[in-house]
Symmetry: C2
Subunit: 402 residues, 2 copies
C-alpha cells in the first residue's frame, strides 16, 4: 500500500512553493516582468565564468572513465583535501580530507549530520525564525525538533528562551547564520555566548551536544564584513555547506559537511556518514560537479547585487514605517507585517502583484519574508507598487505608517 | 552522541570493497596490470562521445542561470517527458512525464520506491542471489527484507520457495534482471509466471503488492536478445533505473523511477516520492546531468566488450570443470566454488592475484562472483593464472576438476 504518512504530506503544500507557482502563473497572464516575485530563494546572478570554463576544459581534456567513474561515497579524496585546505586558509581551521564529507547540497549535508549525532527520540533545537524545511528534515530522522522563540528586536539568539527549551534530551543544536529568513548574521558575541552556553550544558548533562551549522549563505555578507565561522568557536561543530548560493549552482546539488577536528569521534564521523548514505540512497554528488567546484573553491558569483537590492528595500521599508532589522547578509529581509496576521497582509499584497511570504511556517507569525534575489531594476520598480499597496490598504487605518 | 547503529555498521565492511581495496594496494606492489581484479562492478568502457559533446555544447551555448537553476525535486519536467517517450517507444508503454521520478542513481531510485509503497514493519521479498546492499537499503526504511532461496540450476525465480516466503505482510517484491551477481536474465516465462503469481496473491491478501524492478543492467544483454521489461507484464510495477552502466556514467549519479501508469495511485506516486526526498535530503540529480542524459537517452556505450569477456571466461570455467550457468547479460558471472566454503576458495585464489568475491553476502554461499568489466586483454591473461590456481589447489584433491 502507498505509505500513508508521505501521502498525507501532499495536502501540506509549502507556502513558498505555492506563492512561487502563483507568481509564475500570474506572470503568464500579465507578463512576468510585472509580477514582483519575492517568493523564492533562487540565485539571480550567474555562476563565475571560471566555473563554466573549468567544466568545458575538463570534458575536453579528461579521460571520461576518470571523470565519470564511481566516486567514493564520502566524496573524491582529492576534492575533500582541497575543501579542507580552503577552509583552513580562510578560517584558520585544521581540517584534513577525512573531516570533509561531500554531500548533495545543504539538504544532503543536514540529512547526514542529523542522523550521525542523534538517535530517534533525541531532540534537536532550532531557533525561530527558521527555514521551514527543517521540520521535515528532522522529523524523518526520528528526532524531535524543539523551537526557541525569536528575539524579534535583533534576531540574535534569545538565550532566556533557549534556557527553557534545552534539556537532557538535546543532542544537537541547529543554527543558520547568515539566516534564512531574517538575513541576520550572528555576531561574534552571540557565537561566543552560544559556545559557552553549550559547553556548560555538555558538562551539566554529561554528554556531547553537537552544533550543526547550516551555512549556505556564508559568503553573502554585507558591509564588507565576514560571517564569524561557528566551528572556530565550538569543538563539536558540524558545518553544513552548499555551493548553491555562493557559486549560483543550486541545480548542481553539491555541498559538504566539515567536521571539526576537535569534535568527538571526528576521525570516523565522515565514515559514519558514508554508512548513513547507504540507508538513504545518497551516495555522493556527481563526480564531475565535485571535480568542477574544486577548481573554484575560493571564487564566488558576483554577489554584490544582493547588497544593492537589500539597501533599496530596507530604506524603502523604513521610509514606509515598517519595523525591520537590517540584514547583515543573505538575500532575505524579514519585516513585521502591518497587521497581526501576516497571511492576510501578504494576501492583500498579492492584489498588487507583490509576492511576499508570510512567516508562520518560519516559526515567527506576524512577519513576512522577501527574497530579493531578483534584478535590481525590478526591485526599484517594485517600490512604488509597495508604497501604493501600503497606502491604499493601511495608511488610512494605521497612524504608524508614514 | 554518535548514532550507535550507524557506528556499529563500521565493523561490517563490504567484502567487495575490502577485496577491491586489497587489489588496489596489491597493484601498487606488483603493478596493477598483474592483479586480476574481478571484484568491482565498475564499467570499463567510456561513455558515448555524444554524451561528452552534448555537455560541452550545453556549457558553451546555454545561459548558466538556466542549466544550473534549481530543478524541481521530481526532476526537470522536459527531461521526465523525454524519458517517458523513450520508454514508450522501446517497450510499448504509456508513460507520461508525471510517471517519471528522476533519482540519484539506482540507489536513489530504490530508496524512494521502497519508502513510497511500504510502511515500517512491512516485508519486502528479494530473491537470492541478490546485491548485498539491498539489505541496508531496505532495513533503513523500517521495512523487513525476506529472502527467497536461489534455484541454483537456472537462477530463475524459485516459485516453490517464493510460496513459502510470501505472506500478508509482503507489500513489495524486488527483482533485479539482468541480475547482479548471477548475470541471469529472467525469461519471459519467468516474468509472466511472476505476474500471475502476484496477481493471485494481491487477490488473496486483499492489498497491492508492488513489483520493484531494479534494472541498471537492462541494456547489457547478450546473444542479440532483449531483456523482457517487467512493467509490461505487471501493473503495480516501479522500474528503477540508472544510467551508470548503459552510458558508463556511475559517477554522475543519475537514474529514475518509472511508475507503471496502471498501478495504484500512479498519478501521485512521483509526487509522494518528492515528499520522501524532503526527509532524506535527496532533492534530485544534478540539473546538468539530467539535461545531458536527455540528449542521449537511446544511446549506450560500446557494451560488446562485456559479452566478449563473458564468453572467454565462461568457456574457460566450463573447460576447468566449474558448475556455472551461462549469463544472459550484465558483466557478472556466478560459478560454484570448488569447495563448500567459497571464502576459503577465494582466499586461495588471492595467492595467485586473482580477486574473486565469495557470495555469502549475496545470499548464496558456496558461489563466487566475477565482475568482468575489465580489459579483454587482461581477461585473456587471467585464464592461465586461473588454470594454474585450480590445478595447484584442487586438481590433485578433486577428481571433478578436469
Amino acid at each position: 500500500m502507498i505509505n500513508q504518512s508521505y501521502k498525507e504530506m501532499l495536502s501540506g503544500k509549502s507556502i513558498i512553493r505555492e506563492l512561487s507557482e502563483y507568481a509564475t502563473a500570474r506572470g503568464k497572464e500579465i507578463g512576468y516582468e510585472n509580477v514582483f516575485d519575492y517568493s523564492l530563494g533562487n540565485p539571480s546572478v550567474s555562476c563565475p565564468s571560471e566555473y563554466t570554463q573549468s567544466v568545458i576544459d575538463m570534458y575536453k581534456s579528461s579521460n571520461p572513465m576518470e571523470i565519470h567513474g564511481y566516486s567514493p561515497s564520502l566524496g573524491i579524496e582529492d576534492v575533500r583535501i582541497q575543501v579542507a585546505a580552503s577552509l583552513n586558509q580562510r578560517f584558520g581551521m585544521h581540517y584534513e580530507g577525512k573531516h570533509i564529507f561531500m554531500a548533495i547540497g545543504a539538504a544532503g549535508a543536514l540529512a547526514h549530520a542529523f542522523r550521525a549525532v542523534t538517535e530517534p527520540g533525541d531532540e534537536i533545537v532550532v531557533f525561530a525564525p527558521y527555514f521551514p524545511e527543517y521540520y521535515e528534515y528532522i522529523r524523518r530522522t526520528g528526532a524531535i525538533m524543539k523551537v526557541v522563540a525569536a528575539d524579534t528586536d535583533t534576531f540574535q539568539i534569545n538565550f532566556n528562551e533557549f534556557e527553557k527549551v534545552i534539556n537532557e534530551k538535546t543532542m544537537a543544536v541547529l543554527i543558520n547564520t547568515p539566516n534564512n529568513p531574517s538575513g541576520i548574521v550572528y555576531s561574534e558575541e552571540t557565537i561566543k555566548k552560544l559556545s559557552q552556553f553549550l559547553l556548560e550544558k555538555e558538562k551539566e548533562y554529561g554528554h556531547d551536544i553537537f552544533l550543526i551549522s547550516d551555512e549556505p549563505y556564508r559568503e553573502i555578507v554585507f558591509d564588507n564584513k565576514a560571517c564569524p565561522y561557528p566551528s572556530k568557536y565550538y569543538h563539536n561543530t558540524l558545518s553544513c555547506y552548499s555551493f548553491s548560493k555562493s557559486l549560483s549552482l543550486p541545480g548542481e546539488r553539491i555541498g559538504y559537511v566539515a567536521i571539526n577536528p576537535e569534535c568527538t569521534d571526528a576521525d570516523i564521523l565522515a565514515v559514519i556518514m558514508g554508512q548513513i548514505s547507504r540507508g538513504i540512497g545518497h551516495n555522493c554528488p556527481a563526480s564531475t560537479s565535485q571535480l568542477a567546484v574544486a577548481q573554484v573553491l575560493d571564487k564566488t558569483s558576483d554577489l554584490g547585487v544582493y547588497e544593492e537590492n537589500m539597501n533599496i528595500i530596507y530604506d524603502a521599508l523604513i521610509e514606509m514605517g515598517f519595523t525591520v532589522v537590517r540584514p547583515g547578509g543573505t538575500f532575505y529581509i524579514f519585516p513585521k507585517a502591518l497587521e497581526d496576521d501576516a497571511n492576510i497582509f501578504c494576501m492583500k499584497a498579492k492584489k498588487y502583484d507583490l509576492i511576499l511570504v508570510p512567516a508562520d511556517n518560519f516559526g515567527c507569525p506576524g512577519y513576512f519574508r522577501m527574497a530579493y534575489c531578483i534584478d535590481t531594476e525590478k526591485v526599484k520598480r517594485s517600490i512604488p507598487v509597495f508604497k501604493k499597496f501600503v497606502y491604499e490598504e493601511y495608511l488610512c487605518q494605521n497612524k504608524n505608517v508614514k
